[in-house]
Structure formats: structure tokens, C-alpha cells
């Protein structure tokens, strides 16, 4: 009997191992473990055995049943797994096919540059001030120390609409307007971005319409060294920690002293390259200390208050930052141009 059990086990194990489908395995399970199966039969025949052998034989039979069950179960798991693998491998897709496009536009590169600059100065406590693009001669020129017939008016040939109204040639009128609103009390701390217009023929480097960002800080005890410190911080945040700035004397009617501000070249680190025209420096801003006439005209006591102002061209900065070679690209809105600034 014992022998029979062992044979059964061997037989069953052999069959299980060779089973190649779940169906086959199910048949083996029924064949050996079913109610009519040989093990049940053996157990049934145990009555013929002497009483002392019965428990031993019973135990053995259970063990054999156990072994077969385990084998069947594990084989079943294996076959099921294989079956699933087969099935899944039929579901294989080509992962290199393109995904379903999600629409995504982006900001115009000039807006990207302007917002970056705005945010940088907002971090330093500046507000954003805006004003009309059609301006009066007074705010565009006179309040900025450019009386009628001043030769420097030629520096910016303008689009006049009437004798007194024109398209602003700079965003500085916003400064004059904002200062007036402060009624002689500081601090005034603003950034004014916006469109400006000059009579230039459009070409690769000129545009009759362009953007400008200007900054103004008027308070008691504002020094030129503060201008230098503020613009150094600005240059480092916009063009990298390594940047240095250099002030060169210049002339603007609304500031005295006036300076041009150069930033050390971010491309060559000052060694000289084509971007900086081999000088190591790139001219980026015009700036200066607010002219006392401008302060007085806007209602500030120039003995008590001083201030600095600066201005720059977002087109120029964007052209430098992104390596754009033609200013007209900003205004033709070619989608192949616009979509390049997703990360900007």
C-alpha cells in the first residue's frame, strides 16, 4: 500500500511536470485528487489494514495528497503566469509613436523678458506703473527737462498727432506722472514697462514701435552708489552671478549725472567675443540721478530729495539673451518663432 502511494505520487508529479496547459493540469487534479481518484481509493481500502498501521498509512496518504496538491497549485500558478504573459505580449504597443498632443501656447519673448525684470524689481520693493501711449508734449518732453527747441529733442524723432499730442517716445512720462501723484512725498519706487514709438524705418536693428522698461527711485538720501548697487544686483540676477557692471558718463536730459551702464559679457566673461564686439562689455542700460529740474517740475523739493532712474530696451535684452538677430521677428509673429520660447 505504501508502495502504491509512492508510485501514485511519482506518477502524478511526473504528469504535473509535463502538463502544458491549464486544462491538462485541471484533468490531473481531478484524476489524482478527485473524489473518485486513486488516493481516495487507497484511503478507502485502509480498513483492511491492521489497526496499528492505519494512522501511519493515513498520514502517508495525506502527505502524498499534500505533495500533489502543492505541485498542482504551483504548476497552475506557473501556467497562469505564462498564459498572462502570452496574452500581454499580444497587447504590446509601439511606445515610440507620438503621444496625444496637449495644446500649449506660450508668452511672447518680450513679455517673458519684461516679466522677469518686473519680478526682479518687485522683489526689491518696486511697483509697476503704467501710463498712456498717446502723451502730451509736456509729459513726454517738458516735464523731463526737454523744453521746446532743445537740441536733444532730435535724439528722438517722434510721431506727433497734433501740435501737443504725440505717441510717447519713451516710458519716462509715466515717471513724471507718478511723481506728480506723490505730491512731493517719497519714496517713489516704480518700474514702468511699455510700448514706445519713434520715427525709425523698420530694419534689422530699428523698429518704429518697441518696448522700454524704466525704473525710478526717489527718496531722501538716494545716492549714485545706490544706483550702482541696484543695477549690479539686477545684472547678476538677469545674466548670472558672475556679472559686473561699469558706469560710463553719458548724457540724458532728465538725469544729471547721466551714465551708460555696461554689463560684463555673459558669453565670454570679459575675454572678448562677437556679442560684446571684442570689448568684454555689453551696453545694456542708460541711467543717472534724476535731474533737479525734473524733480522740481513734478513737485519734489530737490534739496531734500534725490533719485535715480534707469531705462533699457527689452528687445535688446531678448536679442542678447536668446541670440535673435533681427528686431522685426518680434512683430511679425511667425509661429515658428513664437513657439521657441516655451521655456523662457
Amino acid at each position: 500500500m505504501q508502495e502504491r502511494l509512492m508510485t501514485l505520487q511519482e506518477e502524478a508529479v511526473e504528469k504535473i511536470e509535463h502538463a502544458s496547459s491549464l486544462k491538462e493540469l485541471q484533468d490531473i487534479r481531478v484524476e489524482y485528487l478527485g473524489k473518485k481518484g486513486p488516493i481516495t481509493e487507497v484511503l478507502r481500502g485502509m480498513g483492511k489494514l491492521p489497526a496499528e498501521e492505519r494512522p501511519k498509512m493515513g498520514q502517508l496518504a495525506n502527505e502524498v495528497r499534500e505533495v500533489i496538491t502543492t505541485k498542482v497549485d504551483s504548476k497552475q500558478e506557473k501556467l497562469e503566469r505564462e498564459e498572462l504573459d502570452r496574452q500581454l505580449s499580444n497587447e504590446t504597443i509601439d511606445v515610440t509613436l507620438p503621444g496625444r498632443p496637449i495644446r500649449q501656447g506660450n508668452a511672447h519673448p518680450l513679455t517673458a523678458v519684461i516679466e522677469e525684470i518686473e519680478d526682479l524689481f518687485i522683489g526689491m520693493g518696486f511697483s509697476i506703473a503704467e501710463g498712456p501711449e498717446v502723451e502730451t508734449d509736456y509729459y513726454n518732453f517738458e516735464a523731463l527737462n526737454l523744453p521746446k527747441n532743445h537740441p536733444a529733442r532730435d535724439m528722438q524723432d517722434s510721431f506727433f498727432i497734433t501740435e501737443d499730442l504725440l505717441l510717447r517716445t519713451q516710458t519716462s512720462p509715466v515717471q513724471a506722472r507718478t511723481m506728480e501723484k506723490h505730491e512731493g512725498k517719497g519714496p517713489v519706487k516704480i518700474i514702468s514697462p511699455g510700448k514706445v514709438y519713434r520715427r525709425d524705418t523698420d530694419d534689422a536693428t530699428h523698429s518704429h514701435q518697441f518696448m522700454q522698461i524704466e525704473g525710478l527711485l526717489v527718496d531722501k538720501n538716494i545716492r549714485m552708489s545706490d544706483l550702482k548697487g541696484t543695477l549690479t544686483l539686477f545684472a547678476q540676477k538677469l545674466f548670472g552671478e558672475e556679472r559686473e557692471i561699469r558706469l560710463r558718463p553719458s548724457f540724458f536730459p532728465f538725469t544729471e549725472p547721466s551714465v551708460e551702464v555696461d554689463v560684463s559679457c555673459f558669453k565670454c566673461n570679459g575675454a572678448g567675443c562677437s556679442i560684446c564686439k571684442r570689448t568684454g562689455w555689453i551696453e545694456i542700460l542708460g541711467a543717472g540721478m534724476v535731474h533737479p529740474n525734473v524733480l522740481e517740475m513734478a513737485g519734489f523739493d530737490s534739496k531734500e530729495y534725490t533719485g535715480f532712474a534707469f531705462g533699457m530696451g527689452p528687445e535688446r535684452i531678448a536679442m542678447l539673451k536668446f541670440g535673435i538677430d533681427d528686431i522685426r521677428h518680434f512683430y511679425t509673429n511667425d509661429l515658428r518663432f513664437l513657439e521657441q520660447f516655451k521655456r523662457a
Binding site: R100, R103, Q104, G105, A107, H108, E118, F121, I122, F126, S127, I128, P132, E133, V134, T136, P151, A152, M155, F159, F160, I161, T162, L165, P187, K189, K195, Y197, R199, H208, Q209, D219, K220, N221, I222, R223, S225, D226, K228, G229, L233, R246, L247, R248, S250, F251, E256, P257, V259, E260, M289, P292, T306, Y331, N333, D334, L335, R336, L338, E339
Partner: protein
């Protein structure tokens, strides 16, 4: 202003300062040097040669065989084709091995059988601008002065061993429009010795005042006029040194008299005018305003009509020159001139400016008058010119100068305080150093108590305020020595205004749903400014036009952004970029005034244009062209972002330029804020673009209204119950109207009404459509029972049937 390094060296000790360093330091302290040009341009091996023999080439009519001595040894043979070559000339010779501009190397050559060991050069071949070459040498080689030493480097004789600095001057620094001014600046920057010309005259005993009188009508127009008379002038070419200096400054030599006036113009910055005394027409100079319509034939042989605000020099009867602008043709110096009437004057800058603008005549002279010349240098400049006329044109200078107006004026005094200077600059410059800086600038001063009273020389009319002096102190001290500090004082928070924040939100939203931001021009054509604006149509619209447009394309300010965006669609579709979705935020400009007096209304608008496909995923066969509802969906999302979607309404309208059945105005709280619709197919055809949809909103109105702050509402605690109804409606009843009706009728328990099906066409009666709504009922207090819902729902149904004449379907 072009500055010759060698010339400048005559006034300032530049020992040890190379042209590049000069340029760099001058730039850093305020006068921008835009370029340094080496006149020699890499020339080498060009020496002075002496033509000992010159014979015609045996085999060529136009060539000469020259024997030229170029040093110690035997003369060399050079073939020369210039018509003006001749025996006995001293000429510049490029020897074998020499290099000419453009890296052109001279080699031994054979020309028609004759050996040539070099080349005799013209100025052009030596790199001189052809426009600057004196006429007598324009078509041939350059012939040098006889005293040139054979074998020596020819460049120094030709003054081509020089460097030219190009100054980019700001309008305030007209003092550097002359060599003396540049010398002052250079001496100050480098702390070097300054040696200026001191004219000395040998005047004869005939008095100038016997020959001429000067009268000025109005000293406001002409504060000073000086006249000198020089006799026995021999008009001819000026010496080489003067010619080369003029050439290096970009002025073409003409003859000694004209050259002298130009030379003094460059040296002193003083425009001078030389009249032919014998053709002047009288012994009287009268400076007065022109009579309106008065005429003068100017040097350029043009007849010019003058106006009453122009200032003229007259001979007492008729104008002989337009003051500071141009002389008259009649009294022009010619080869026959022997007596010169020399004018040195100071004219009111704005009068010269106006006249040169009116007459379209800008010259080296007028620019200098306009920008302000040195009032106290006029007299000396006159003497300098007279000195040169005696020296190089054989002239005899008559005694004295005939004048009107004071010869000199007292310098302006400006006070600067050291403490204030340091406060403005953020520096600690010591008093001693401030004194030194003023001395370097050659400004005299007195220091009393805390105030330094500076006598500003007349050459610096730009300095009138303390700040101007602070700038001088700062720039000579060196801006690189100013520390970098941050402003002290009350901290401010800064930030964006609510409207600026909303604008950024709108931008981010539109970009996140797939629109690109465009930026277009504000100036446009009248036609474009008069389309798609939706304004009440006027017979003659009040355009805001620029008074002198550069082109018709940029003539008036836009009244809507839409035409500009249609241009963007057109531009891209012309380049096969068919799927376009762009927006722009910008101003439009409107006015009610026919003659603009007030500032126009600038409205901040948001406009967008959509064309082509909205979604395209080809390999999975997904393709969705833009339609009205795509665009409306974008707007719906936008209004949700702005928290106003409950207050928005779309109303079907007909509008010029839009599809008559696919256009709506957008209302916020019942007030019109914009338009949405399809571009009229006829317009579409005219633009030659694909089906296009547009919207435009007035952002100022949208941003101005108050919006409820975000308050969390509790998540539902009880289940809601949904009921679907399909209504058969008349075609002209709008689905949205019914939706609002249901909402209103449902009261508090009806939480949401949505449209989930629309059916038109087959199986429907003529003129009917079926719209299916899903109604969701919810009570935040308790679980709703069917009975609760039924009560409200039947009320809703009754209302809809009655109000919209609807029947239930199915």
C-alpha cells in the same frame, strides 16, 4: 568728430599714451570713442622717391618708364601709368616687398616687356578715401613737397602714420567738436600739460575799420560779430600738413582760404566765413532779420526764399549770407580773390537751428552754432585764421578787428558743495581732491566756507547747475571708484496692482490652453482701423492719425486689435502654418473728438484669432477643426478663472465683418464687454485665409469689477438625485435661455442644469429641435426623497412647457 592723434599730440603731452589707451580712458570718463582707425592700415615699405627720368614706354602709349631714386643706391625702374607723373617729382613709392591696404603685396613685375620694381602710389592706393583726395591729384599719383627726403618713410610725410579717433558726442558735449576742446578734455583725464595755439599777428598799418563797418540790428540774435580784412591773398592749394589734417577729419581740401576757415573750425570749433571783399558790394556789414520772401542764391547755387525769422548777413542792401548756415554765391571766394573779408561771429543757436531746418541745410558750421560754440573764443579764432592767411596764403592783415557786441563775456559762476557732491555720488572725495579735479578741468574757483564757487569757462555752456559740476567731479574722479550700495530708507512692499495680477492670470490661462501671445503694431491703415471694431458706424470716423506718417501702412492708431491678428493668421497661413491660435493684450485708441485735444481713451483689450485645426492627432485619427464652440469654451474657462462666469451672457448679434449667424456679443452684468464670432466668409476670402474665429474683450471693464473672494463650500454629505428631460423646442428658442429658465424655476434644490444632447433634422417636425437637459437636485440638509424631487421637478416641467412652448419627448 574725428580726432587725429598726431594733431592732438601737438596740444597735449601724450607721451607714453598709445591711441587705444587714449580711447579707452576718454571713453570711461565721458566722451565715447566709437572707434580708433589706423590710417596706415598695415602699409609698409612705402618710401619717398625722386623721379630722375621719365620716358614713354616703348610698347604702350599710356605707360611711362621711370627711373626713381629710392635711397642710397642706383635708381630703380618703375613703370607708371599716371598721367601726371613727371621728371623731378618727389613721390610715394611702394618698393618691392611693400604692403598696401587690403594686404596687397608689391612684387617685381614686367609690364609690356619692361621691368617694374615697385609702384608709384596715388592717395587712393594708400587708403585715402577717394572723396577726400584733393582735386589736382584725383586722377593720378600724389606729388609730394620738394623738401621730402628720398628714402624716408613716406607715411609720415603724408601724415598716414596717424590714428583717427571717432568721438560719439552727446548733445551736451559740443565743446569737444573741436581739437582745443578735446585737448582740454584729454589733459584733464590724463592730468597732462596743455599747450594751446597763441595766434600772433603782424598787422600792417592800414586800419580794417577804414574798409568796413559792422552793424547788428539785434544783439539777441547776434551777440557778437567781428570782421577782419586781409589783403594780397594768393588763392592756391594749402600746404600738405593742412591738407592731411583736413582729410583726416573728413573734410576735402579746396584751396588755402577755404581750407583755413575749415581748419580753424576744426581747431577752435569756430565757424568762419570768408567773403570776397571786392565783390561784397559795399563797405558795410549789416546783420538783420530777413524780410519774408526775400531771396538769396547760396553757395550751392540754389535760389532760396527766406522767412522773417531767418537771420541774414547783408551788405546793407541785400543778403550775402544766411547767418551761420550758408554764404551767398555772389561774394564767394574764387581763384581771383585778393582781399578777404573774414567773419567770426556768435549767432543765437536756436535761430541757426530753425534756419538750417527750414532750408534743409546742415553743415559742420550750422551744427556747431546750434550746439553752442565758445562765446569767448570767437575773437581769438578770427586772429588764428588771419595768422594762417598771412602764413600760408601770403596775406597782409589789416590792423584791428571791426566789431559789434562785447568781445568777451564774464564766465558763469556755479557753486558746488563738497558735502553735497559726496552725498549725491555716495562717495568720500576729499576737498583737496575736488580742488585737484577742478584744476585738471582748468576751471578756476574760490573756496569759502563750505562753498566752492566755480567760474565755468564759456567753452562749457552745459554746466549751469551744482549737479552739472557734481557730474564733472564724479566722472574725473572715476565712476569705477563709486562703491555699490543699496538704498537705505523705508522699505516698501512693491508688487502688482490687482489689474496687473489679473492680466498675468489671463495670459497664463490662455497660454496653458494653447494660445501663443502675439505682439503687433499700434499704427495701421485707415481701412483696418475702420473694420471689426463694432462701433456705431460713422460716415467719417474720428481716426487718430499721426501728422506725418512714414507710410500709409502706419498712418492711424488702431481701434481694435482684430485686423492685426488677422494679419498674423494671414502671414502664417501664407507659410503653410495653417493652425493658428494667437492672442494679444494691448491698447486700442478711441476718441469722440474730430480735432483731438484731450488724450484719447486707451482701452486695454484682449483679442484672439483661431484658424485651422484646434486638435490634430493623425495616427489615432483625431482631428478637430476650430469652431465657434471651441472659442467659446476658451472664453468660458477664462471667465471661470476670473470668477465672473455666473455673470456672463452671450447674445446672438449681427455685426459688420462677422458671420451673420455665428456671432455673439458678450455681456458682463448686462454690460457689453466684447464680441465672439466667425469672420465673415466674404472677409475671409478677401484676407485669403481659412475659416477663422475671433474674440475681443475690453479688459479694463472685466478687471475693474469686484469679484467675490473664494470661499470654500462644504462637500456634499447627502446623495443628489438626477433627472433627465428631453424637450422639443421651436428652432428659434435658444438652448441657453431654456437652461436659465429651468435653473430659475428649480429654486434652491436644483443644483445644476446641463445640456447633454441636441438633436435636429430627421424625425423632427419642421422648425423643431430636441434638447436634452440633465437636472441635479440636492439638499445640503438631508437626503432627498423621490417625493421631494418630484414636487420641484413637476413644477419645472410645467414652467418650461408654458414659458417655452416645449413638449416632452419620448
Amino acid at each position: 568728430m574725428l580726432v587725429s592723434y598726431n594733431w592732438l599730440k601737438e596740444y597735449v603731452d601724450l607721451d607714453g599714451i598709445q591711441p587705444d589707451e587714449l580711447a579707452d580712458r576718454i571713453t570711461k570718463s565721458g566722451i565715447e570713442v566709437e572707434g580708433v582707425e589706423s590710417l596706415s592700415q598695415g602699409i609698409s615699405g612705402v618710401v619717398v622717391g625722386h623721379v630722375e627720368k621719365c620716358e614713354q614706354h616703348p610698347n604702350a602709349d599710356k605707360l611711362n618708364v621711370c627711373q626713381v631714386k629710392i635711397g642710397e643706391g642706383e635708381p630703380v625702374q618703375i613703370i607708371c601709368g599716371a598721367p601726371n607723373v613727371g621728371t623731378g617729382q618727389k613721390v610715394p613709392v611702394a618698393t618691392v616687398g611693400a604692403v598696401l591696404p587690403g594686404n596687397f603685396k608689391i612684387k617685381k613685375a614686367k609690364l609690356r616687356g619692361e621691368v617694374s620694381n615697385g609702384m608709384i602710389c596715388s592717395l587712393e592706393e594708400l587708403g585715402v578715401d577717394v572723396k577726400m583726395v584733393p582735386k589736382e591729384f584725383a586722377d593720378g599719383i600724389y606729388v609730394m613737397k620738394e623738401d621730402a627726403e628720398v628714402g624716408k618713410n613716406a607715411l609720415s610725410y603724408l601724415n598716414l602714420d596717424d590714428h583717427i579717433l571717432e568721438l560719439g558726442l552727446t548733445p551736451n558735449r559740443a565743446d569737444c567738436l573741436n581739437m582745443i576742446g578735446v585737448a582740454y578734455e584729454t589733459a584733464a583725464v590724463f592730468e597732462r600739460k596743455l599747450t594751446l595755439p597763441k595766434p600772433s599777428l603782424n598787422e600792417n598799418n592800414e586800419s580794417a575799420s577804414d574798409c568796413i563797418s559792422v552793424k547788428v540790428d539785434d544783439f539777441g540774435d547776434n551777440p557778437y560779430y567781428g570782421a577782419k580784412v586781409i589783403r594780397n591773398i594768393k588763392v592756391g592749394p594749402s600746404p600738405e600738413w593742412m591738407q592731411s589734417r583736413l582729410i583726416s577729419a573728413g573734410i576735402r581740401p579746396i584751396n588755402n582760404v577755404v581750407d583755413i576757415t575749415n581748419y580753424v573750425l576744426l581747431e577752435y570749433g569756430q565757424p568762419l566765413h570768408a567773403f570776397d571783399y571786392d565783390r561784397f558790394g559795399s563797405k558795410e556789414v549789416l546783420i538783420r532779420r530777413a524780410e519774408a520772401g526775400e531771396e538769396i542764391r547760396t553757395l550751392d547755387d540754389e535760389m532760396r526764399k527766406l522767412e522773417a525769422h531767418h537771420l541774414v548777413i547783408t551788405n546793407g542792401m541785400k543778403p550775402v549770407a544766411v547767418a551761420g548756415v550758408m554764404g551767398g554765391a555772389y561774394s564767394e571766394v574764387s581763384d581771383e580773390t585778393t582781399t578777404i573779408l573774414l567773419e567770426a561771429a556768435y549767432f543765437n543757436p536756436s535761430i541757426v537751428r530753425q534756419a538750417s531746418k527750414d532750408l534743409g541745410l546742415r553743415s559742420e558750421s550750422s551744427t556747431r552754432f546750434e550746439k553752442g560754440i565758445d562765446r569767448n573764443r570767437v575773437y581769438e579764432a578770427a586772429n588764428r585764421a588771419a595768422e594762417l592767411m598771412a602764413e600760408i596764403a601770403g596775406g597782409e592783415v589789416l590792423e584791428g578787428i571791426v566789431e559789434a557786441g562785447p568781445r568777451f563775456v564774464d564766465p558763469e559762476k556755479v557753486i558746488v558743495r563738497g558735502e553735497r557732491a559726496n552725498k549725491v555720488l555716495g562717495t568720500n572725495i576729499e576737498t583737496k581732491e575736488i580742488h585737484e579735479i577742478l584744476e585738471r578741468l582748468r576751471f578756476s574757483y574760490e573756496h569759502e566756507n563750505d562753498e566752492i564757487t566755480v567760474e565755468v569757462p564759456a567753452r562749457r555752456p552745459d554746466i549751469t547747475l551744482e549737479e552739472d559740476l557734481i557730474e564733472e567731479i564724479g566722472r574725473i574722479y572715476g565712476y569705477d571708484k563709486i562703491p555699490a550700495t543699496l538704498p537705505e530708507g523705508a522699505t516698501t512692499t512693491g508688487g502688482l496692482t490687482p489689474s496687473q495680477m489679473k492680466r498675468r492670470k489671463v495670459r497664463r490661462y490662455l497660454e496653458s490652453v494653447g494660445l501663443y501671445q502675439a505682439l503687433t503694431y499700434s499704427l495701421t491703415t485707415k481701412k483696418k482701423a475702420n473694420a471689426y471694431h463694432g462701433l456705431a458706424t460713422e460716415e467719417e470716423p474720428a481716426f487718430i492719425s499721426v501728422s506725418m506718417p512714414m507710410s500709409e501702412e502706419r498712418a492711424v492708431l488702431r481701434r481694435t486689435i482684430l485686423p492685426q491678428l488677422l494679419e498674423v493668421v494671414q502671414y502664417n497661413q501664407n507659410r503653410q502654418l495653417n493652425d493658428v491660435a494667437v492672442y494679444e493684450i494691448g491698447s486700442t485708441y478711441l476718441t469722440d473728438e474730430r480735432n483731438l485735444e484731450k488724450l484719447p481713451n486707451e482701452h486695454q483689450k484682449l483679442a484672439a484669432a483661431f484658424s485651422g485645426l484646434w486638435h490634430f492627432h493623425p495616427w489615432q485619427q483625431e482631428k478637430k477643426p476650430v469652431d465657434f464652440y471651441v472659442v467659446k469654451g476658451v472664453l468660458d474657462g477664462l471667465f471661470k478663472k476670473l470668477g465672473v462666469s455666473e455673470r456672463i451672457e452671450f447674445q446672438q448679434v449681427k455685426r459688420e465683418g462677422f458671420h451673420p449667424g455665428r456671432t455673439a456679443i458678450v455681456l458682463l452684468d448686462g454690460k457689453q464687454i466684447g464680441v465672439i464670432g466667425q469672420l465673415h466668409p466674404a472677409d475671409q476670402k478677401e484676407w485669403d485665409i481659412k475659416e477663422t474665429y475671433l474674440f475681443e474683450l475690453d479688459l479694463d471693464i472685466v478687471f475693474d469689477i469686484d469679484v467675490e473672494p473664494v470661499v470654500y463650500s462644504a462637500l456634499p454629505r447627502y446623495p443628489s438625485i438626477s433627472r433627465d428631460i428631453a424637450l422639443i423646442l421651436e428652432q428659434d428658442v435658444s438652448a441657453g435661455e431654456v437652461q436659465s429658465g429651468i435653473k430659475a424655476a428649480g429654486g434652491e434644490l436644483l443644483k445644476e442644469v446641463s445640456i447633454f444632447d441636441l438633436y435636429e433634422g430627421e424625425h423632427m417636425d419642421e422648425g423643431k429641435k430636441s434638447v436634452a437637459y440633465s437636472l441635479t437636485y440636492y439638499n445640503p440638509e438631508k437626503t432627498l426623497t423621490d417625493d421631494d424631487v418630484e414636487k420641484v421637478h413637476s413644477k419645472v416641467l410645467g414652467y418650461v412647457k408654458e414659458k417655452f412652448n416645449a413638449t416632452m419627448r419620448g
